[in-house]
Amino acid sequence: MRNLFLFIERYRTFLLFLLLEGFCFFLVINFHSYQRSSFLNSANFVTGNVYKTYDNAISYLYLGRVNDSLRVENARLYSQLPNAHGRIPEPEKEICEFDPPQIYKYISAKVINNSTDKVNNYITLDIGRKDGIEKNMGVIGPKGVVGIVTNVSENFASVMSVLHKDCRISAKIKRSNYSGSVSWNAYSNRQAELIGIPNHVDIVKGDTVLSSGFSSVFPEDVPIGIVDDYSIPNGSNFYDIKINLFTEFSRLHYVYVVNYLFKSEKKKLEALND
């Protein structure tokens, strides 16, 4: 026993180092395993408020740019309103006489912290649980898909952006309707990869890539990017497709969180299958 104490006394720095380092590695490995939530995130009270204060101080610098992007977005949305299109002919109106229920609701949020040059990039938003934000909700920007909510606190939320090496977004090619998933290659904040498209599909540069809506994290047809380059690796049945992302992640100021209104019903139904 005495020897044990002597040993501990002698190597206490090393043992303390091992203990603390072990704890850190536990956190890291836990974080990299399936469930990607961690108590260590920027959605807590202190970090959220630091980022918010900083954002309040500097957001005036971007007002012009933000206004411009909102104007463009408004114009685009106006042109999608029913009165911008022709009227629906009467007989067809009778066929679909019921009002389709609302499936998605959008909640506006402000980006208070954002990174684009790390391997795992996160965005912090100024809204949280009290505004109805939950884990795994999709986040879209004025130009397209932005990311997925990973952690929520009372007043803040942290979002795993598309620029995260573990982010997968269910996507499809607009022209051929084939679906795959978009992941990030970690070295350019304007480019990502589309994987899982079989090699018999006809692809051309400039094809638009949209969200597929399968996972109901994002509605169908939210723009993601356009095909920049593609190749078929030797012996593979799938394409390697590089896409240029629409969203300019380094200029992100306002985003919308997507709330899928049938979430609990869908979950209940899917639970029956297990």
Partner: protein, 168 residues
């Protein structure tokens, strides 16, 4: 003590709000907050330094959503600090109670001291961040470029933060 606390807060704010937002390139992610541990006086107890490094790293993890990676790298840096310092064996007349700085141990010694320790920190941190050896040379290049950039910023900051009486 108050000086140390102020320096800690200043460095932390600079790292989180300024340097993290620089967005130089995917290959250059500089970190200057290790200077908090690099500049601790020589007579600080080794266990105290470990706890200190752990706390600073964990706080940085909260801000960067990195789940223990900064804490792991900072602990490693703090643990290696005395060995690296000894191996460089700078001047013998260092006041053990004073904070380590460019003036107190000499420019060259401080440069090597911070380069080596920042390299160790970045090596662990960036590999934990990628969490695979798939793109080993990509990651290694990133570590080397970031180390030089961080060391440059650390030296500049160390000179700016140097106690007034030591500044010429």
């Amino acid at each position: 003590m108050i000086r140390q606390l102020l320096q800690l807060i200043a460095l932390f704010i600079m790292q989180v709000l300024v340097i993290n937002n620089l967005e130089l390139s995917a290959y250059i992610n500089p970190y200057i907050y290790p200077l908090i541990i690099l500049s601790l006086p020589l007579n600080t107890a080794r266990t105290t330094i470990l706890f200190y490094a752990f706390a600073v790293g964990l706080a940085m993890d909260f801000f960067c959503n990195t789940a223990g990676m900064h804490a792991a790298a900072m602990l490693w840096l703090a643990y290696m600090r005395p060995f690296i310092f000894k191996s460089l064996s700078p001047r013998s007349n260092i006041n053990a109670e004073e904070m380590l700085s460019v003036k107190s141990i000499g420019f060259t010694s401080f440069l090597y001291y911070s380069l080596i320790l920042i390299f160790l920190h970045h090596f662990l941190y960036f590999f934990l961040e990628v969490f695979s050896f798939n793109q080993f040379f990509h990651t290694l290049l990133k570590i080397i470029l970031s180390t030089f950039f961080s060391a440059l910023l650390v030296i500049i900051t160390a000179i700016l933060f140097a106690p007034n009486k030591l500044r010429t």
